[in-house]
C-alpha cells in the first residue's frame, strides 16, 4: 500500500431524485493503484453514486447532488470545473455494451477526435491500435476495423467500449456492472482485462456479483439502502466483515 493521496475523494455526498433521497451521506476514497468494487443489493444506490463521480447524474432531469467530490483535490462540482474535461479524465463503461452505430475504428477514434488528442491521422490510428490492444481486442478486430461496432459479440462490444474509454487517456475508469449482460466466458475476459489495466488507471467497478468483487478488487465498499455500510480491503470485507449487515449480505442472507 502506498501513502500517495487518493485519486478521488467523496465526503458527505447526498443524491436526490426530485424529493426522493437516493444516496445518504456517503464518504469514500478511491486510490490510484487499486481496483475499488461497489457491492450491494440492487437498488442500493451503488450505480447512482458511481454516476456522481463523473457528473453523469447531470443528464437526469430532477437529480440533485450535494456534498464534496474531488478529483486530485479539485472540486468536481465547482463552478470552474468543466464537465467535458472531467468526463474525459473520468471515463465510464456501462452495464449494457453501447457501441455507437459506427465502425469499430470510429468508435475508438470518437473520443480522441472530439477532444483533439491526435496530431495526425497516423497518430489517431496509433491511438486506436494501442487502445484496442490494451482492451485485448486488437487481434480479433484488426482485419475488420471498418465493420460496424454493433456487429461484434456482446463481450467484444464491451471490450470495444473499454477501448473507447481508454482512448482518451482517462485517469479513472468507472465500470457500471460491466459484465451483467455477458456470458461467463466473456465475463472472464473482462475480469482479466481489469486485472491488466490495474495500476495504470484508477478503476471503480460496480457489481452485484460478490465473487467478481472478490476476484478483481483490492478495496470493496458495501452499499445498502443508499448508505455506505462498510468500506475496506476486499480481503477483510469478505473474510472478516465488521458490520452485521455486511456479513448477512456476504453470506447470502439477502440480496
Amino acid at each position: 500500500m502506498s501513502n500517495a493521496p487518493p485519486k478521488m475523494t467523496a465526503s458527505g455526498v447526498d443524491v436526490f431524485y426530485g424529493a426522493k433521497q437516493a444516496i445518504r451521506d456517503v464518504s469514500i476514497d478511491v486510490r490510484q493503484e487499486d481496483v475499488t468494487a461497489f457491492i450491494g443489493p440492487s437498488g442500493c444506490g451503488k450505480s447512482t453514486f458511481l454516476r456522481t463521480l463523473n457528473r453523469m447524474n447531470d443528464t437526469i432531469p430532477g437529480a440533485r447532488v450535494s456534498g464534496d467530490v474531488r478529483l486530485d483535490g479539485e472540486d468536481v462540482y465547482a463552478k470552474a470545473m468543466d464537465v467535458v474535461q472531467l468526463r474525459a479524465r473520468v471515463g465510464m463503461v456501462f452495464q449494457k455494451p453501447n457501441p455507437f452505430p459506427k465502425s469499430i475504428f470510429e468508435n475508438v477514434a470518437y473520443g480522441p477526435r472530439i477532444h483533439g488528442l491526435a496530431r495526425s491521422k497516423a497518430d489517431l490510428a496509433q491511438i486506436v491500435e494501442r487502445s484496442l490492444t490494451r482492451a485485448g481486442l486488437w487481434n480479433e478486430v484488426k482485419d475488420r476495423l471498418g465493420d460496424s461496432g454493433t456487429a461484434l459479440s456482446g463481450g467484444q462490444q464491451q471490450r470495444l467500449c473499454i477501448a473507447r474509454a481508454i482512448a482518451v487517456d482517462p485517469e479513472v475508469i468507472l465500470m457500471d456492472e460491466p459484465c451483467s449482460a455477458l456470458d461467463p466466458v466473456a465475463t472472464a475476459r473482462i475480469e482479466e482485462l481489469i486485472h491488466d489495466l490495474r495500476g495504470r488507471y484508477a478503476i471503480v467497478i460496480v457489481t452485484h456479483n460478490m465473487q467478481q468483487a472478490a476476484r478483481v478488487s483490492q478495496r470493496t465498499a458495501f452499499f445498502h439502502l443508499g448508505q455506505l455500510v462498510e468500506y475496506g480491503d476486499t480481503s477483510d470485507i469478505f473474510t472478516n466483515p465488521r458490520k452485521e449487515r455486511t456479513k448477512d449480505y456476504i453470506t447470502g442472507r439477502y440480496g
Binding site: 468543466d82 467535458v84 474535461q85 474525459a88 479524465r89 472530439i114 477532444h115 483533439g116 488528442l117 494501442r130 490494451r134 482518451v168 487517456d169 485517469e171 495500476g199 495504470r200
Partner: protein, 421 residues
C-alpha cells in the same frame, strides 16, 4: 511488462493554453448549435404568428360594413303599396313590385349628386330599406334617414384603402358614414357584390358535407380498426388490408377527387357539386385516418383487461364491445376529430367534383348544389374585385376558428382522458 507500458503512456495535459482554447471553442460551437435550434423553433413560430396576424389584420374589416345615412322621403317617391300589403307573407313581393329599389336609388342621386349618387350604395342598400319599412310601415308616410350599406369602393376607402380620389370622396362624406356589424357576411351566401357576399351558404355546405363524412367514416373506421386489431387472422388478406389503409392515408387528397369524379359523377351519375358527393369523397379520405388512430387507441388497451374479461367467460364480441371499445373511445374520438378537422379544411378533391360553382343560396338538401368554406375562400381569392380581399381573409378567420376549436377539443380530450397503462 507493466513498466514498459507505463513508459509509453502520455497523460493528457488539459491545462495547456491550446487545450483550453480548444475546449472554449467547443463550448462556443455548442452554444451556436443550441441557438440554431432555438432559431428554427422561433422561425416556425414566428411564421405561424405572422400568418395569423396578417389574416386577422386583413380580415377584421370583413366583419364590418360601412353605412351611410340616406335621407328618404318615401311618401313622395310614388310607391304603389298599401300598409295592408305589408302584413302577411307576400310583403317582400309587394315592396319589390312597388319600385322601392328605384326610390332608394333616386334618393341617393338627389342626396349625393356630386359624390356619385346611387353608385355609392351597395346592392343590398334597398333591401335594408325594405326591412326597415317592414318593421315600421309608418316610414312610407314620412321623411326619415336610414343607414344603408355603401358600395365596395367607398367601403374600402372609408377603411383606409383604395385610390386617393376614392379616399377624398370618403373624407367628404365622412360625417354621414358609420360602421356596423356586417350581418350579410355572417348570414348570407355568395354574391357578386363583395358588400353582400356572405359565408353562411358555404358554412352550411361544409356542415352538410361533414355530416355525411362523419356518418360514413366514423362507423366504418372504428369497425375496421376493431376487426384489424382484435380479430383479424395474420394472413395475406389482412396484410393487404393493412397496406391499403396505410397507403390510402398517404395518398394525395387530389387523387380522391379524381376517384370521386370518375366513380360518383362519372359512373353513378350523382349530382355535381352536391354536399352528398363531397361528403362521400371526404369520407373515403378520412376513413384511413380514423382507422389508424383507432387502432393505436385500441392497441394501447392492455391485454390484461381482455384476459380478465375472457376469464369470466365473455365471448370475443363481448370482450371487445364491453371492455376494449369503451376504454379506447377517448383516443378514437381524438383521432376522429383531427381527421374531421382535416376534411373540413380540404379543398382540392372538392374542386374535382365540381364544388366550385357560384352558389348564391344556402343548400337545403344533401343533393342541392353547395360549396364549402375552403372552396369559397379559394373562389373569393380568385376574384378581381378589391372588396373580396377582406372577405377572403375574414372567411379564413372563420375557418381557422372552427379548426382551432376542433383541434383544441381533441387536445382537451387527449389530456382529460389519456390513461397511461
Amino acid at each position: 511488462m507493466s513498466a514498459a507500458v507505463s513508459a509509453e503512456r502520455r497523460p493528457t495535459d488539459w491545462r495547456t493554453a491550446s487545450m483550453q482554447r480548444r475546449v472554449r471553442q467547443r463550448y462556443a460551437a455548442e452554444r451556436r448549435f443550441r441557438l440554431l435550434g432555438l432559431a428554427a423553433v422561433a422561425a416556425s413560430a414566428a411564421f405561424l404568428l405572422f400568418l395569423l396576424a396578417s389574416m386577422l389584420a386583413r380580415g377584421a374589416g370583413g366583419f364590418v360594413e360601412t353605412r351611410i345615412g340616406l335621407p328618404l322621403d318615401l311618401a313622395r317617391a310614388g310607391l304603389n303599396v298599401t300598409p295592408e300589403q305589408l302584413r302577411g307573407p307576400r310583403s317582400d313581393l309587394a315592396l319589390a313590385g312597388a319600385g322601392l329599389e328605384r326610390a332608394v336609388d333616386s334618393a341617393a342621386e338627389s342626396a349625393f349628386p356630386r359624390a356619385g349618387g346611387a353608385a355609392l350604395l351597395s346592392d343590398a342598400a334597398w333591401l335594408r330599406v325594405r326591412e326597415a319599412v317592414k318593421r315600421d310601415p309608418s316610414l312610407l308616410r314620412r321623411r326619415a334617414t336610414i343607414d344603408v350599406p355603401v358600395a365596395s369602393r367607398l367601403d374600402i376607402a372609408f377603411k383606409g384603402g383604395g385610390t386617393p380620389a376614392e379616399r377624398s370622396v370618403a373624407h367628404a362624406l365622412g360625417p354621414l358614414l358609420s360602421r356596423g356589424l356586417n350581418r350579410d357576411f355572417l348570414g348570407g351566401a355568395d354574391s357578386t357584390d363583395p358588400t353582400r357576399a356572405g359565408i353562411w351558404g358555404a358554412l352550411k355546405g361544409s356542415l352538410l358535407t361533414m355530416v355525411v363524412t362523419l356518418l360514413l367514416a366514423f362507423p366504418i373506421g372504428v369497425l375496421s380498426a376493431l376487426y384489424l386489431e382484435e380479430y383479424a387472422p395474420r394472413n395475406r388478406w389482412t396484410d393487404l388490408i393493412e397496406v391499403s389503409i396505410n397507403n390510402l392515408a398517404a395518398v394525395p387528397s387530389i387523387i380522391f377527387g379524381l376517384l370521386g369524379l370518375a366513380v360518383f359523377l362519372g359512373t353513378f351519375h350523382m349530382p355535381r357539386s352536391a354536399a352528398l358527393v363531397g361528403g362521400l369523397t371526404l369520407a373515403l379520405m378520412t376513413t384511413p385516418v380514423i382507422v389508424i388512430a383507432a387502432r393505436n387507441a385500441i392497441g394501447a388497451v392492455p391485454p390484461s383487461i381482455r384476459d380478465a374479461a375472457r376469464a369470466l367467460g365473455a365471448s370475443p364480441v363481448q370482450v371487445v364491445f364491453h371492455h376494449v371499445l369503451p376504454l379506447a373511445l377517448p383516443g378514437i374520438l381524438t383521432g376522429t376529430i383531427i381527421g374531421m378537422a382535416r376534411a373540413l379544411g380540404e379543398t382540392a378533391p372538392l374542386l374535382m367534383i365540381g364544388m366550385r360553382a357560384f352558389i348564391a343560396a344556402p343548400p337545403e338538401r344533401l343533393t342541392d348544389p353547395a360549396t364549402v368554406l375552403p372552396v369559397q375562400i379559394f373562389l373569393w381569392s380568385d376574384d378581381v374585385q378589391a372588396g373580396f380581399v377582406e372577405k377572403t381573409s375574414a372567411a379564413i378567420i372563420v375557418l381557422l376558428v372552427f379548426l382551432l376549436a376542433m383541434n383544441g377539443l381533441a387536445i382537451y380530450l387527449r389530456n382529460r382522458f389519456e390513461t397511461r397503462w
